[in-house]
C-alpha cells in the first residue's frame, strides 16, 4: 500500500503500535476520584454541565462522546461517569 511506503505513514503506524503497547503494559491501579476528574477536565473546553442535566443513561452516552472528543483515559471516563450518575436525580 502506498501509505505504508511513505515515511509519515510508517511513523503513524509506528506511533499507534507504540501507544498501544504502552497502554497494554501500563499498570492498572485502584479507583480514581470521579469528582476530581470532573473538576480537572469538564470545564476545560466549555462551562460546567451540571450532573443534574441528564439521567444515568444519558450520561453514559454523553461521557462516551466526551471521551472521544476530550481524549480522556478509560479510567477517567469510568470514574467521571460514576460521579455524574451519583449526583443527578436518577
Amino acid at each position: 500500500m502506498r501509505l505504508a511506503k511513505t515515511s509519515l505513514g510508517r511513523a503513524i503506524i509506528g506511533a499507534i503500535v507504540v501507544v498501544s503497547l504502552f497502554g497494554v503494559t501500563a499498570a492498572f491501579s485502584g479507583e480514581m476520584d470521579g469528582a476530581r476528574v470532573f473538576r480537572n477536565n469538564c470545564t476545560k473546553c466549555h462551562n460546567e454541565r451540571s450532573p443534574m442535566e441528564k439521567t444515568d443513561k444519558e450520561w453514559r452516552v454523553v461521557v462516551t462522546h466526551m471521551r472521544t472528543i476530550a481524549l480522556l483515559t478509560a479510567k477517567e471516563s469510568r470514574a467521571v461517569l460514576k460521579y455524574l450518575q451519583a449526583n443527578n436525580r436518577d
Partner: protein, 354 residues
C-alpha cells in the same frame, strides 16, 4: 434543498421518537446535544450592511449502539437555513482502553479550535481566529479512518493523547484558498484519489495544562494524478486556573504548492484569555466574563497581512446560555510597511448549548 430539509426533519422525528419510547430495547441509548445561536453584526464604516442572523441551529444526535460503539451526527442549519449540511457523522469503536477507531466523516483534530472549541456556546469570543480560517480551516471535516486514545501518567491528571487519521483530504483548484478546499457536501474524492494523512499528539503534563502538535500532509489539486502538496503544521497550548481563568492559543502554518515546486507559506496565530468575574465573589459581577482574542494571518507577501483584537463581554444566563458582546478592531499591513485600517466590527451573539 427541500429534500435535504425533509431528510433532516424525518431524521429528527425518528430520533426523538426513538429516544422517548420506553418499551423499547433501544431505551436509554440516546442523547441529544448541539447548539443554537443568533447574531447581530454591525460595521463601523459600513463596508457591509448591519444584519441580524439566525446563524446556527445544530442538533447533535448520539446513539450508543453498544457499550463500546457510539454513532453520532451533527446536522448544521446555518444562516437561516441557507446552508444545511451534515457537519459530522461518525461511528466510534472503542477497541480497548487505549485505542478508539473512528469511521465516517469526522471533525479533524488539527489544533484544538476545529474539533473542540468552535461551537459558539463554547468559543468565548465571537468570530473565528485568523489562524483558523484560511491557514487551517474550521468546520473542517474529513471522511476516512482515525485512531485515537489516551494513556494516563499518574494520579494528578497527567496523560498523553493522540489522534492519527487517513482521509480523502482537502481538494480544489491550484492556489485556491484553503477554506475553499473543504468538502462541505459530498465528502468523497471528486477527481483526486490520493489520500491525506495527519494527526495530533497532545500532552497534559498536569491537570489544567495541555500542549499539542498537529500535522497534515496531502495533495490537493483536483485532478486524477495530483501533484500539488499541501502540508500543515501547528502547535496549540492552554492553561486553566480552576474554571475561572483560561489562556489558550494556536500557531499554524500551511505550505501550499501553487505550481510544481513553488510554495506559498501561510501563517496564522491566535491567543485568547478569558476571566470569569465570579472570581470577585460579587453578586452583580458573578454572571460576567471578560475575554479578549488577538489573532493574525501572514501570507508572506502574497496577500495583505491582517490582524484583529476582539475584546468581549460575556453575560451567562446559565452555564450554557450566554450573550456575547464583542468588538473587533481589524487592521491590515502590506509586508512590513504600509498599515491600513480595515473596518471594525461589532457583534452581539446569543448562544445556547443544548
Amino acid at each position: 434543498m427541500k429534500s435535504k430539509l425533509l431528510t433532516a426533519l424525518i431524521l429528527g422525528c425518528v430520533f426523538t421518537g426513538l429516544g422517548n419510547s420506553t418499551a423499547n430495547a433501544q431505551e436509554g441509548k440516546f442523547a441529544l446535544g448541539g447548539y443554537l445561536d443568533w447574531t447581530f453584526t454591525a460595521y463601523e464604516a459600513g463596508v457591509k450592511p448591519s444584519s441580524f442572523n439566525a446563524f446556527h441551529y445544530n442538533p447533535i444526535f448520539l446513539y450508543q449502539v453498544e457499550d463500546n460503539i457510539l454513532a453520532s451526527a451533527e446536522l448544521e442549519f446555518e444562516n437561516g437555513g441557507d446552508e444545511i449540511v451534515v457537519e459530522y457523522m461518525q461511528l466510534d469503536y472503542i477497541w480497548n482502553d487505549y485505542v478508539t477507531f473512528t469511521l465516517g466523516k469526522f471533525l479533524v483534530p488539527f489544533g484544538a479550535y476545529n474539533r473542540r472549541l468552535h461551537p459558539t456556546w463554547i468559543a468565548r469570543v465571537p468570530g473565528k481566529p485568523l489562524s483558523n480560517i484560511d491557514v487551517v480551516p474550521t468546520g473542517w471535516a474529513e471522511v476516512g479512518l482515525m485512531a485515537s486514545g489516551a494513556v494516563g501518567l499518574g494520579e494528578n491528571g497527567a496523560r498523553v493523547n493522540y489522534s492519527f487519521y487517513v482521509s480523502n483530504g482537502l481538494e480544489g483548484a491550484a492556489g485556491d484558498g484553503i477554506r475553499e478546499l473543504r468538502k462541505e457536501g459530498d465528502p468523497r474524492e471528486m477527481n483526486n484519489s490520493s489520500k491525506a494523512v495527519g494527526g495530533r499528539l497532545g500532552i497534559v503534563p498536569t491537570a489544567g495544562v495541555e500542549f499539542g502538535v498537529s500535522g497534515y500532509t496531502g495533495k490537493y489539486d483536483a485532478v486524477a494524478t495530483p501533484v500539488l502538496n499541501l502540508n500543515m503544521v501547528g502547535v496549540d497550548g492552554e492553561y486553566h486556573y480552576q474554571d475561572l481563568f483560561e489562556l489558550r492559543g494556536e500557531l499554524n502554518q500551511a505550505d501550499q504548492e501553487i505550481t510544481p515546486g513553488q510554495y506559498v507559506i501561510k501563517r496564522g496565530y491566535y491567543a485568547q484569555a478569558a476571566l470569569k468575574l465570579s472570581i470577585t465573589d460579587n453578586d452583580l459581577l458573578m454572571p460576567f466574563e471578560l475575554a479578549v482574542r488577538v489573532s493574525g494571518q501572514n501570507f508572506t507577501g502574497v496577500a495583505d497581512d491582517i490582524h484583529e483584537v476582539t475584546p468581549t463581554i460575556n453575560y451567562y444566563f446559565g452555564s450554557t446560555t450566554v450573550l456575547r458582546l464583542g468588538y473587533s478592531f481589524n487592521g491590515a499591513s502590506q509586508g512590513a510597511t504600509a498599515y491600513k485600517k480595515v473596518d471594525n466590527q461589532f457583534v452581539a451573539m446569543f448562544a445556547k448549548g443544548l
